[in-house]
């Protein structure tokens, strides 16, 4: 993936001078961020640096107080073509008070393509394919409450993939995910990128996704600190707030190199 053109194509996400407040506290102080077609951009930074807020201004969950947000060249306020976007929120946001199966949750992701909320055969087929992509097809009828953290995250990614999006926006997809699931997620993402998808993702560390990432944008205190090639291992360790939870040291997963080389 290293040979992917860094500045090919038109921007699919463009933030220009975006400011945002949570309560009265400024969280973004004028950030610029562009994701071009086919690019994989990682948003890095310490806790509280504004990376989740930046992503949430793109999807309209956090109102911006200044600057512009564009998706596929359309101002965010006028953007309606949500079936082109797949969103993976931080895992904590998806917890309903009633049991639901894996299929039921993933089917929600297909609603952007289903007219009047009716799921036809082709839609059910797409849901099944999304589950196969993340290796959860055999758990389709299980309750999501019965899944591990990593499996749950895979379900949320399948939900985002169910609409067959061109742009994936992910908020810490690797947080609290076991090694086996991390590899499946990296593999899934690589297949999506190979098929032409653009990706913006918040990461705490590059981890197993490192080889996929074209560009890294590092935030600190709501400002862009770095925008360019992903920081090398040394630089990455020097990032503010980096905590050392690398899976590299583990010797029980020999398949890992094969999947990611």
């Amino acid at each position: 993936m290293d040979d992917a053109p860094v500045s090919a194509g038109e921007p699919v996400i463009a933030l220009r001078g975006v400011t945002a407040e949570l309560g009265s506290r400024p969280v973004l102080r004028g950030i610029d961020l562009t994701v071009r077609r086919g690019e994989v951009v990682a948003l890095l930074g310490a806790n509280g640096s504004g990376k989740s807020t930046a992503i949430r201004t793109v999807i309209g969950q956090v109102p911006v107080s200044g600057g512009e947000v564009e998706i596929f060249g359309t101002p965010r306020r006028r953007f309606r073509d949500w079936k082109r976007v797949g969103y993976v929120p931080q895992r904590t946001t998806a917890a309903g008070g009633v049991p639901a199966t894996v299929t039921e949750v993933v089917s929600s992701g297909r609603l952007s393509r289903a007219r009047f909320g009716l799921l036809r055969k082709a839609d059910r087929e797409a849901v099944r394919r999304a589950l196969e992509l993340v290796g959860m097809a055999d758990r389709a009828k299980d309750s999501v409450d019965a899944l591990s953290g990593g499996q749950h995250q895979r379900v949320l990614i399948a939900r985002a993939l169910a609409s067959e999006p061109e742009l994936l926006i992910m908020d810490e997809p690797m947080a609290g995910v076991d090694l086996a699931s991390q590899e499946i997620l990296a593999e899934t993402l690589r297949a999506q990128v190979a098929a032409g998808a653009s990706v913006l993702l918040v990461l705490h560390e590059l981890g197993p996704l490192e080889p996929l990432i074209d560009r890294a944008v590092v935030l600190r205190d709501g400002c862009v600190l770095h925008d360019g090639p992903p920081p090398e291992a040394v630089g990455q360790h020097a990032l503010p707030g980096h905590d050392h939870v690398h899976p590299h040291t583990s010797d029980i997963t020999p398949v890992r190199t094969g999947l990611l080389s």
Partner: protein, 298 residues
């Protein structure tokens, strides 16, 4: 089956069935959104509507509907904008609604708090033909929304943030859930009463999910429990002089207890089946070697 002969009993049974269907049908979305007590709040607000109905000598049922719709719209606005002191604002709305009801009914000519009794705890024997028409219309609306829009409502109740990114009109749907809940409270008011409405929205759902793994099954079983208990309570009331609303609510709680008791062995069997299917041994196969302890045992 002699109870089917009297006209009032026919009306009571029809009203009971409609409440048994609609209350859990909208309640499941409230439980899913973790707003299980919203029905209770609407019930409080609806009291002002009942009082207003008496004062203006119009139908208390339609007045309750109108006032509770205004109430839920305010509740939704509070949820959107005033996040910081939202719970305090809701408390004022709920108790203001209750106090308003008591005040208005005492201002009504010849009215007293005693008139409220049948709305607070339900009064099947006084369900009139016009009440029944209102109940049928509202129940039809509730069924249409909760079944017809089940995928959209499931999506916004499961994960509102994600639902917004699928392009669903989340605010409109949230308002629709709130208005539908208000309609349900009005439907159920004559059967179980305003103070017990919320129980019929929440308890059948809680009972059903002791046994289920899917939303669809939870929905179906909750409605089945709702219909069984409302019919059971109504028929019991025909033979024994006990309050039907209270009977129905106690029956749903009994259903919850029975389902919980069944659930434990069922969950254990499912876990064992899942472990067998995955090839996992049921217990740890590796003997833990803890230094120090082995010596102490020897």
């Amino acid at each position: 089956m002699e109870f089917l002969d009297s006209a009032f009993m026919q009306r009571a049974l029809l009203a009971a069935v409609l409440v048994g269907i609609t209350a859990p049908a909208i309640g499941i979305y409230l439980v899913q959104r973790r707003q299980a007590l919203m029905g209770d709040g609407i019930g409080h607000v609806a009291m002002t509507g009942v009082g207003l109905g008496f004062l203006l000598s119009t139908s208390p049922v339609w007045m309750a509907m109108a006032v509770s719709v205004v109430g839920v719209v305010i509740m939704e606005l509070i949820r959107w904008y005033g996040k910081t002191r939202g719970d305090i604002a809701l408390a004022m709305l709920f108790y203001g609604g209750m106090a308003g009801g008591v005040m208005l009914i005492n201002l009504a000519p010849g009215g007293s708090t005693a008139n409220l009794q049948s709305y607070l705890f339900g009064s099947l024997s006084t369900v009139s033909q016009s009440d029944l028409t209102a109940i049928c219309v509202l129940a039809g609306f509730v069924a249409l929304v909760t079944i017809g829009l089940r995928r959209q409502l499931f999506a916004i109740s499961q994960d509102e943030e994600f639902a917004r990114v699928t392009g669903l009109p989340v605010r409109v749907l949230n308002l629709l859930v709130a208005v539908t809940a208000a309609a349900t409270v009005t439907v159920a008011m004559r059967v179980v009463g305003l103070l017990l409405v919320s129980a019929l929205m929440v308890v059948p759902v809680a009972a059903a999910q002791q046994l289920t793994r899917s939303f669809a099954a939870t929905f179906a079983i909750a409605v089945a429990i709702g219909v069984t208990t409302t019919l059971g309570g109504t028929i019991t009331n025909y033979y024994v002089e006990i309050p039907p609303g209270a009977t129905i609510v106690l029956l749903t709680i009994a259903a919850f207890i029975v389902f919980s008791l069944i659930a434990t062995p069922l969950a254990r069997r499912r876990a064992r089946a899942a472990a067998n299917a995955a090839g996992d041994p049921a217990a740890c196969a590796i003997e833990a070697r803890i230094p120090g302890q082995a010596g102490a045992e020897a």
